[in-house]
């Protein structure tokens, strides 16, 4: 009697996964084995977008956009300063998202994604600070001030460096992922602080020229140059993060069978 009763239960259990083939198809790419070749195919497209958009954006910024009547040509630093600053904040949020996902769902690939993003985010926050200093000198008369915007941006750079150092200092990779995730998630509070610092505090740094409410106070051609460069550097960030991710996957999964079947390993 008992055996007969289990049959319908087993049948219904085997029937449940079939209504969601789409979801399972995406879940497949949560495994490093299936993600690795897919990422390899995506890289050239993001690279092409990065080169084309960055070139176009900087061409508009340096050859089409006019000289600013207040700041002269010093303003052209905006074409790298603002994209670098935006991306350093965006990459942090995305990094914290993947780190958090890895912490909650225990998916290895999510944690590797966070690890792959950190160096690029750190570089962009450094570039935002560097170009900011070179812009501050001619316009404010100083390389650096300890105001809210600049200080919170420096903290972002330290958060990136802290994340990288913490992960590197723990030998057990899964434990390193978890510790890094906690740090990344705690640090997220800094991102809105950076963004709103120019409104909350009286800073030397100017307020944003672009807002969702009021639109843009910049000339359309300057705005176009800045936005297109941002898209280009965004594509660049995705490209380098994916390339780095592939190296991380390969290193961490080096004992897995599927790695032995890869063309680059067999040859």
């Amino acid at each position: 009697m008992k055996e007969i009763a289990t049959v319908p239960a087993a049948a219904s259990r085997s029937a449940t996964p079939s209504p969601a083939p789409r979801a399972s198809r995406w879940w497949k790419y949560a495994s490093p084995q299936h993600a690795y070749p897919l990422i390899g195919r995506l890289v050239p497209w993001f690279l092409a977008a990065a080169v084309l958009l960055t070139t176009l954006g900087l061409y508009i910024g340096f050859f089409v956009a006019p000289t600013d009547h207040q700041q002269g040509d010093a303003y052209r630093i905006i074409y790298v300063h603002v994209p670098a600053a935006w991306l350093s904040m965006l990459i942090y949020v995305v990094m914290a998202f993947w780190a958090g996902l890895g912490l909650i769902l225990n998916t290895r690939l999510s944690s590797m994604m966070a690890q792959a993003l950190a160096p690029t985010g750190a570089l962009f926050s450094f570039l935002a600070l560097w170009t900011g200093a070179l812009w501050g000198r001619p316009t404010w008369g100083t390389w650096w001030v300890w105001d809210a915007r600049l200080t919170s941006m420096l903290i972002l750079l330290f958060l990136y460096i802290g994340f990288i150092a913490l992960q590197a200092s723990i030998d057990d990779k899964r434990r390193a992922d978890k510790a890094g995730a906690v740090l990344a998630l705690v640090g997220v509070v800094n991102v809105p602080i950076i963004y709103f610092s120019v409104q909350w505090w009286n800073t030397l740094h100017q307020g944003s020229s672009i807002s969702l409410k009021n639109g843009s106070s910049m000339a359309a051609v300057m705005l176009a140059g800045m936005l297109i460069t941002t898209l280009g550097l965004w594509a660049y960030s995705i490209t380098v993060a994916l390339v780095r991710l592939r190296s991380i996957v390969l290193e961490r999964e080096r004992h897995a069978d599927w790695v032995g079947h890869l063309e680059e390993i067999r040859a």
């Binding site: 002269g72 010093a74 790298v80 812009w135 001619p138 380098v240 390969l250 390993i265």
Partner: protein, 71 residues
């Protein structure tokens, strides 16, 4: 176009140090990151290939010893 000559372009209205100091470092950082990634990829692939070859070697040696001991 706001430039009448290349020299005017490079002069950046007197702000050459600041503008090119920014652009130069941005491109230097990007170049360094790209080169670093190419090098990382090469190193990792070499290490994985070497590690696998070594393990295979050890496994084969282990099998031979087992066979010798059995006979």
């Amino acid at each position: 176009m706001s430039w009448s000559s290349w020299s005017e372009f490079w002069a950046m209205g007197g702000y050459a140090l600041y503008v090119w100091g920014s652009m130069g470092v941005v491109f230097a950082v990007i170049a360094a990151e790209v080169l670093g990634l190419v090098w990382q990829r090469k190193t990792v692939v070499d290490q994985v290939v070497q590690g696998r070859r070594q393990r295979q070697h050890e496994r084969q040696r282990g099998a031979t010893t087992l066979r010798k001991n059995a006979s």
